[in-house]
Amino acid sequence: MIACILVPGFELQAALRSRPRLGLRPAALAPEPGTEPLLGPVTAAAEAAGVRPGMRLGEALALCPSIALVERDPHGVEEEWEGILKRLEDSGFAIESVEPGCLYFDTRGVERLYGGVKPALKRALASVGASWNASAGAADRRFAALAAAAIARPDQAVVVDDGRSKEFLAPLPLSLLPLEQPRREELGHLGVKKIGQLAGLPGSAVAERLGPDGRRAWSLARNEDTADAGLNDIQPGFNDTRVTARPPATDLAEWLEFPEAVANELTLRRALTALLDRILARPERGGREIRKVALSARLVGGGSWRRTATLREPSAERGVLRAALGPKLAELPAPVLSLGIELLTLAEAEGRQLALVRPEGEELETRLRDGLRQVRARAGAGAVATVVEVAPWSRIPEQRALLVPRD
């Protein structure tokens, strides 16, 4: 079975960790700088005042003038989420993190360890921690598991028996489906308000009216494989019944605290160089090159900032890393109190000999494998596939070749 753990409004909850009192007042996560002024998740008190996530800031202020806007804290969110993932991994769960606040794991590996699906989910919720108000769900497919977790109360687990997912999904509201608001409203005007009503419509009519997203939502509503709807072009490697556990985290980070807030780019660039020197000298790296790296900063007046960079080729050269991360410093929205660097993914090889002759054989294979790992690090597991011709003579284009994942 596939299990899903959901922490509602995780970004807001993480940002409120340092200001717990705000959690009891009407508060909402501030809009992202430079984007539409739409609110993020909101507290229960704000919801009681009529404020909804995704509402325009002006409308929310008109409804609830006392609402407090909580600054986004992407570094805090990553840190808290990583802590939850590590606690779950320590308890034996091989997890796939979708985004902060949502993760999946396969229960097959832990059912016997904890004596069944429900005890395993309870254990997972205990590992997450009661203070996060997390909920859990398990079903035969991802979407049904997500829906089960979405309707479960905080610290509760809902398990959908095998083969009963379609009946389970039928009475649930359309809001659980990944559909754009206008599409959902369009369906509402047609009298389609429940997942079961959408599932009862003919697939071709849904596709014609709502496009590929609608067709995918229809497949999810019917608890069917979304790959059948031809969605692999949109989401390569997406599989409803499989979880790809993340590789072990490297946990290598260095921070530099400034005596006072710094906004000068030259100083920040020097700080970056110092950080690179320190992290490249860490013995835990074991001489391995860096593939993916994150740069974080704590901002003056609260909040944080974070950017990640995937290198075109793994490298442990200070100049290459500085060139990749340096321009990101110009995107800092405010003076910083501290700057940090984190190595997210390391390459396997220790150093590389430059070629005098054109590489071939084993060397070429090694490079190809490394390149594929690079693509996976950037685009996610299942993103690399081989085209295998099965019926090249067929008059039906989709029957000529298959995409075989190279995981």
């Binding site: 596709a207 590929p212 039906i396 284009p397 989709e398």
Partner: protein, 80 residues
């Protein structure tokens, strides 16, 4: 998991009176380059009957679309 290459993707197509496409994904069709039919698997319970059009949109983009004559609905497809 295995997936098929060049699966048909649902397309928004407005038809002319003769059944040929007039607009594809809200873009006007500038010219129809070719038209053909594919009839296959008529001996099975899932026969295939498609009317294909290779069209040039006003943006200059070349697209292949077909109407599924069995189940209805328009689809775009690469590799056709």
């Amino acid at each position: 998991m295995l997936a098929r290459l060049n699966e048909p993707q649902p397309a928004l197509v407005e038809e002319r009176f003769d059944g040929s496409p007039d607009r594809v994904n809200r873009q006007p069709v500038a010219a129809i380059r070719e038209e053909w039919r594919v009839l296959d698997r008529w001996w099975t319970e899932e026969p295939i009957s498609r009317r294909y059009f290779e069209v040039v949109l006003e943006s200059g983009q070349n697209v292949v679309v077909f109407r599924d004559q069995e189940q209805g609905g328009w689809f775009s497809q690469r590799g056709a």
